[in-house]
């Protein structure tokens, strides 16, 4: 269950975002991607998730290159981008049900997840009627559905209140404990035991 990156290079327009980047992410490790605005964190995360092809270089998961096993890789992966991926016109619980279906998880976990994330009283509210932070909580709920071994999260703490951030951190710690790997791009301090954390500063590549 190792994510390995070799000589990854990405150009956007006429400028290299990162050049010959290599690292390995073992289970029980969290890769914290840091760097100033616009240095390429989101781009890197998308490449790691297989959403974008890199300009050159290789990403492998358990020794297999990503593009050779997309659907297999997807069973292990949970992704959280800048956007939440929830339909405005569906209710909280409907969104979660569809997500459970989409990622082939058992639907019975949904109730407990809703409870944990603090959206139980809002389970029948349409997503467009949620506040910014409640939407982000809902997106986090996706991570807790079913099993996975790799989380890739882009600024997960956005809009969350203090309780929300604490909840997120405890979830992540638990996931790491159980042998998961996590990639996070973030500007905010992360309350997770330092022995899990492996840092990558993208600004340094320039």
């Amino acid at each position: 269950m190792t994510l390995r990156v070799e000589n990854l290079t990405c150009w956007r327009g006429k400028q290299a975002l990162f050049d010959r980047l290599s690292f390995t992410l073992e289970p029980k490790k969290l890769l914290l991607v840091e760097g100033s605005n616009g240095c390429g964190k989101t781009t890197l995360l998308k490449i790691l998730a297989g959403l974008r092809p890199p300009t050159s270089g290789l990403v492998t998961w358990q020794q297999t290159p990503l593009d050779a096993m997309t659907e297999e890789y997807n069973t292990h992966l949970k992704w959280l981008g800048h956007d939440n991926g929830m339909s405005r016109h569906l209710s909280v619980i409907e969104n979660l049900r569809i997500n459970a279906n989409l990622f082939a998880c058992e639907a019975k976990g949904i109730e407990t997840v809703l409870h944990q994330i603090g959206l139980k009283p809002f389970q029948d509210t349409l997503v467009k009627h949620l506040s910014a932070g409640m939407k982000r909580r809902l997106a986090l709920a996706r991570l807790m559905l079913g099993h996975s071994s790799l989380w890739i999260l882009d600024e997960p703490q956005t809009s969350l209140d203090k309780a929300g951030v604490a909840l997120f951190e405890s979830l992540t710690s638990e996931f790491l404990d159980q042998g998961g790997s996590v990639v996070i791009a973030s500007h905010q301090p992360l309350g997770i035991a330092p022995n899990y954390i492996q840092r990558l500063n993208l600004s340094a590549c320039h």
């Binding site: 959403l51 991926g85 016109h89 082939a104």
Partner: protein, 224 residues
């Protein structure tokens, strides 16, 4: 796992549609708009109206579907749901096919109802009404599927609606020509079977190829 995938997004479309009756009003409202504009804009004699009725009905159906395409993937793109689809372990082609099928089912029933109603009002002879319905039933899935490819290719682009129209103009012509000439033949008493066969073979072609094309197009659109 694949067997069930088709129904996930289909069910989702139904859920979203059931939120507002308006979704079901789309074909009715746009179709009525186009069909009503003609008698008013042309101020024609009943006879003239009857002659051009098949064409008007088919063009109106085509435009109604075209209108719905612009929004097919837009919201899903903007709220990040398309990314989730691509990252799901289920086959993307099937998921998307389910979505399009759902949209089609939502549109088709009201469309058929209103088309037959207007058919009567426009003075279409009774025996060609059946042909109208059948041709719409075979032709509209083609229109939806071909349109969905164009929508997938242009998702996230500025001015996607223009691009869609441009892309589709040549692709839609065969469907329109076979469809409306089927109805015309029927109303002049000729057999409309040749046209209906052509439409059916177009349908089979798009049914097999469009889902694959769509999923490739979505992946390309997202990777920029």
């Amino acid at each position: 796992m694949a067997d069930f995938s088709f129904f996930i997004l289909m069910q989702r479309e139904f859920k979203i549609a059931s939120r507002s009756v308006q979704q079901f009003l789309l074909p009715i409202s746009f179709f009525s708009l186009v069909v009503l504009l003609f008698p008013l804009g042309l101020n024609p004699s009943p006879q003239l109206l009857q002659t051009i009725a098949p064409g008007i009905l088919w063009v109106a159906a085509l435009l109604a579907i075209l209108l719905s395409l612009d929004n097919l993937f837009r919201e899903d793109y903007e709220d990040g749901f398309l990314e989730l689809l691509v990252l799901s372990p289920r086959p993307l082609a099937l998921l998307l096919a389910g979505k399009v099928a759902g949209q089609w089912l939502i549109i088709i029933l009201p469309l058929l109802l209103i088309a037959s109603l207007f058919g009567i009002f426009l003075g279409l002879p009774n025996h060609s009404l059946g042909t109208l319905l059948i041709s719409l039933l075979i032709g509209t899935p083609c229109l939806m599927l071909i349109g969905a490819i164009a929508a997938a290719l242009t998702v996230g682009l500025q001015q996607s609606s223009v691009l869609i129209t441009l892309l589709l103009l040549p692709l839609y012509l065969p469907v329109l020509i076979f469809g409306s000439s089927a109805v015309q033949h029927a109303s002049t008493g000729l057999s409309s079977n040749p046209q209906l066969y052509m439409l059916s073979s177009l349908l089979i072609l798009t049914l097999t190829l469009a889902p694959l094309a769509m999923s490739a197009a979505i992946k390309i659109s997202l990777s920029q």
